[in-house]
Subunit: 74 residues, 2 copies
């Protein structure tokens, strides 16, 4: 089990329906390695504390259909 | 190859970012049985002409994280 890291993504979100959708798909991974999710709608930033890789999380966020890019791992 | 049907879904969409996300995930199936997509944002309705089953399309829309329910097949 690797120790958790915090990955940050830029996600095109324009309303609370958008950010809620991202929150929901990430919430589904709460038992599978996602420990904490923080979404800043005005800043278009999604921060995920997780033992999963940045690529795995990116793929999950992309499934929402939102334009998404990886920014950095803290 | 079954002939296409039109399935209708109610999808919680509150802005054009929401409807754009639904459009994008369905567009990815354009070579895999989805023939036409029509989204009515104010009415919260998504209409899909496809050879895929209503369940298959429902699963794809749900992956967006939007609250979604099947309404009817025309």
């Amino acid at each position: 089990m690797s120790s958790p890291q915090v990955h940050i993504y830029k996600v095109a979100m324009t309303c609370e329906g958008c950010s809620g959708a991202v929150q929901r798909v990430l919430n589904k991974l709460k038992d599978k390695g996602v420990q904490d999710i923080s979404i800043d709608l005005p800043a278009q930033r999604v921060q995920v504390k997780t033992t999963l890789s940045s690529e795995e999380i990116l793929d999950v966020i992309k499934k929402t259909g939102k334009q998404t890019e990886f920014v950095e791992t803290l």
